[in-house]
C-alpha cells in the first residue's frame, strides 16, 4: 500500500510505473516485452486454449448494435469464443450494483471487490470495454488475481493487461481467429 513517490499514489502497483507502456503502432506487448502482432496473437490463443475457465468479456462497444463495425465484431467474437472454447461474460454497462454485486456472475469496474469469479478464471480477453473502465478493471484484476488478462483494443492498448494488442478492427479479429485455429490444431485440442 501507499509508501512514497508518484507510483504509490495508486493503491495498486501499475504497469506504467514498472516501465511498461502501451505498444507502438503495429506492435503488441506480452508482459513487459514488445513483440510483433502475430507473435502476440499466437500467445494469446495458446493462453486462452490452455488456461482454466478462459473467458471473453465483451464490453458495450461490441455488445450493442450501434455501428456496422460493432455488428461485424459481434459475429466474430462469437466465432472466437467457439474456436477458443471460451465462456462469455458481458460487461454490458458500468452502473454500480446495489445492494451488492454478485462476483459469481459478473464483473464491474465500479466495485473494488472485483476478483473475477473468485479467481477461478485464469485467462480473460477484454474487448469493447471503454478505455477508462478497462484501465481500472485491468489494474484490479492484475493486482488481485493470477488471471492472464488480454486487451484486444480498438485504440492504443492497455499496459496493465498481460497481453495487449492495439488497433484491433474486424479484419484483425478475422486474422486472430485464423491464427487461433492453427494454434488449436498444433495443440491437438
Amino acid at each position: 500500500m501507499a509508501n512514497q513517490g508518484p507510483a504509490y499514489y495508486s493503491p495498486y502497483p501499475t504497469a506504467l510505473y514498472e516501465g511498461v507502456s502501451t505498444p507502438v503502432e503495429g506492435k503488441a506487448i506480452l508482459l513487459d516485452k514488445e513483440v510483433d502482432e502475430e507473435t502476440a496473437m499466437r500467445e494469446i490463443a495458446k493462453q486462452m486454449l490452455t488456461k482454466e475457465n478462459a473467458t471473453i468479456f465483451p464490453g458495450p462497444q461490441v455488445l450493442y448494435s450501434y455501428s456496422d463495425e460493432a455488428r461485424k465484431k459481434a459475429a466474430l467474437i462469437k466465432e472466437m469464443a467457439e474456436v477458443l472454447n471460451a465462456k462469455m461474460i458481458p460487461m454490458y454497462d458500468y452502473r454500480p450494483k446495489y445492494p451488492k454485486i454478485d462476483a459469481e456472475i459478473e464483473i464491474n469496474p465500479n466495485h473494488p471487490n472485483l476478483t473475477i469469479w473468485h479467481n477461478d478464471i485464469k485467462a480473460a480477453i477484454f474487448i469493447g470495454v471503454h478505455c477508462h473502465y478497462a484501465n481500472v478493471a485491468l489494474k484490479m484484476v492484475r493486482c488481485e488475481t493470477d488471471c492472464y488478462t488480454i486487451a484486444m483494443c480498438a485504440l492504443s492498448g492497455h499496459e496493465d493487461a498481460m497481453a495487449t494488442i492495439r488497433d484491433q478492427h474486424a479484419s484483425d479479429l478475422e486474422q486472430f481467429i485464423k491464427i487461433a485455429r492453427e494454434v488449436k490444431a498444433e495443440l491437438k485440442l
Binding site: 465483451p58 458495450p60 461490441v62 455488445l63 450493442y64 448494435s65 450501434y66 455501428s67 460493432a70 455488428r71 459481434a74 459475429a75 467474437i77 462469437k78 462469455m88 461474460i89 458481458p90 454490458y92 454497462d93 452502473r95 454500480p96 446495489y98 459478473e106 465500479n110
Partner: protein, 289 residues
C-alpha cells in the same frame, strides 16, 4: 442513431441479463412511442432508473423517477448532475449522464448543448441539469444565472430539499428562516432565497416552484420545460423533495410533508413567457404534450 446503443447484437442476446433485454424491449423510448411518454406507463414498463442508494423513502428518488418518465426523448437526452444526494442515483440511470464539479452544472451543460447542436444539427438533443439547492442556489448560483442571462437552451431542475443533505445538514440559501440543522445549530438568520423568482428575472421562459407530491404535475412541468428550452430558451423548475433524514421524518412521511408544503413555501408559482405560451399551444395542437 442514439437508440441503437440499447439494441443488443443478436450474438450476445443469450448472455445478457434480463434487465438489459428489458431495457431494449420494454422501456418507453420516444422512438417506439406514438404518444408522448409519461408517468402512466411507469407501472408496466421498464424504468430508466433501476435502483438507487438513497435513504429509504427519500422523495428525491420518487421525483427523479417522475422526471425520467416524462423526458420527451430519453435516448437523445443528456442529464448533467452536480454533487449531492442526487448524484447517488445518477450512476444507476441508463442514459448518458455527466457528473460535473459541484456548482458548475449549468456551465458544463452549456458546453454540452452547444457542441451537440453543432455536431448533430438535424437531431433535437435535450440537455437537462438536475442538481440540489446547495449546488443551484449557493455555490453554482453564478453559473446558473449566467446561463439564464445568455439564454442557453437548457432545462434546469433544482431538487430543493432546503439543506446540504449529502454533507450532513448545513443550511443553504434555500433553507427557510429559523430552521435548525445538526450543523446549523443557531438557526438560519435570513429568508429562503426565492430561486424561481430570480430565474424569471434572469430570463427563464418557463419557471415553476412546486413540490413532488403530484407525479402528474411534475411530469407535465418537466415535459413543457424541456420543449420550451429546446425551441425558445432557458427554463427552470424548483421542486421540493424534502430531506426526511435531516428534518426528522420517517420513510413514509415524505409525501405528507410535500402535501403540507404545497400550501406553504412551495405554493404553486408558475411563469410562462408569451413566446413560450404561444409555443406550448402549438405543441398541444400537434400532440406533443
Amino acid at each position: 442513431m442514439a437508440i441503437d446503443i440499447y439494441k443488443i447484437n443478436p450474438e450476445f442476446r443469450d448472455i445478457m441479463p434480463k434487465e438489459i433485454i428489458d431495457l431494449e424491449e420494454n422501456a418507453t423510448w420516444a422512438q417506439n412511442q406514438k404518444k408522448p411518454r409519461g408517468i402512466k406507463e411507469m407501472p408496466d414498463t421498464k424504468e430508466i432508473l433501476e435502483e438507487h442508494s438513497l435513504c429509504a423513502g427519500c422523495p428525491e428518488a420518487a421525483a427523479l423517477r417522475y422526471v425520467l418518465a416524462a423526458l420527451p426523448k430519453p435516448e437523445e437526452t443528456i442529464i448533467v448532475n452536480s454533487t449531492g444526494c442526487t448524484s447517488l442515483m445518477f450512476p444507476h440511470i441508463a442514459l448518458h449522464t455527466v457528473h460535473s464539479l459541484f456548482g458548475n452544472q449549468n456551465a458544463v451543460a452549456t458546453g454540452i448543448k452547444r457542441v451537440l447542436d453543432w455536431r448533430f444539427p438535424d437531431i433535437e438533443k435535450d440537455v437537462v441539469v438536475l442538481a440540489g439547492d446547495g449546488a443551484t442556489v449557493d455555490i453554482g448560483l453564478d453559473y446558473t444565472l449566467q446561463s439564464f442571462f445568455r439564454q442557453e437552451n437548457i432545462t434546469t431542475i433544482c431538487f430543493d430539499n432546503e439543506v446540504y443533505a449529502n454533507t450532513g445538514g448545513q443550511e443553504s440559501g434555500a433553507t427557510p428562516k429559523g430552521q435548525v440543522f445538526k450543523m446549523a445549530p443557531t438557526g438560519k438568520k435570513f429568508e429562503k432565497v426565492k430561486m424561481w423568482e430570480l430565474a424569471t428575472t434572469a430570463g427563464c421562459h418557463y419557471t415553476m416552484n412546486m413540490t413532488a407530491s403530484a407525479p402528474k404535475a411534475v411530469a407535465k412541468a418537466v415535459r413543457e420545460a424541456i420543449l420550451v428550452a429546446r425551441e425558445i430558451g432557458p427554463t427552470f423548475l424548483n421542486i421540493y423533495t424534502p430531506c426526511i433524514l435531516e428534518i426528522g421524518l420517517s420513510a413514509n412521511e415524505g409525501l405528507g410533508e410535500m402535501k403540507d408544503q404545497d400550501k406553504d413555501r412551495f405554493a404553486s408559482y408558475k411563469f410562462v413567457s408569451p413566446e413560450a405560451e404561444e409555443f406550448l399551444k402549438k405543441c398541444k395542437e400537434e400532440g406533443k404534450l
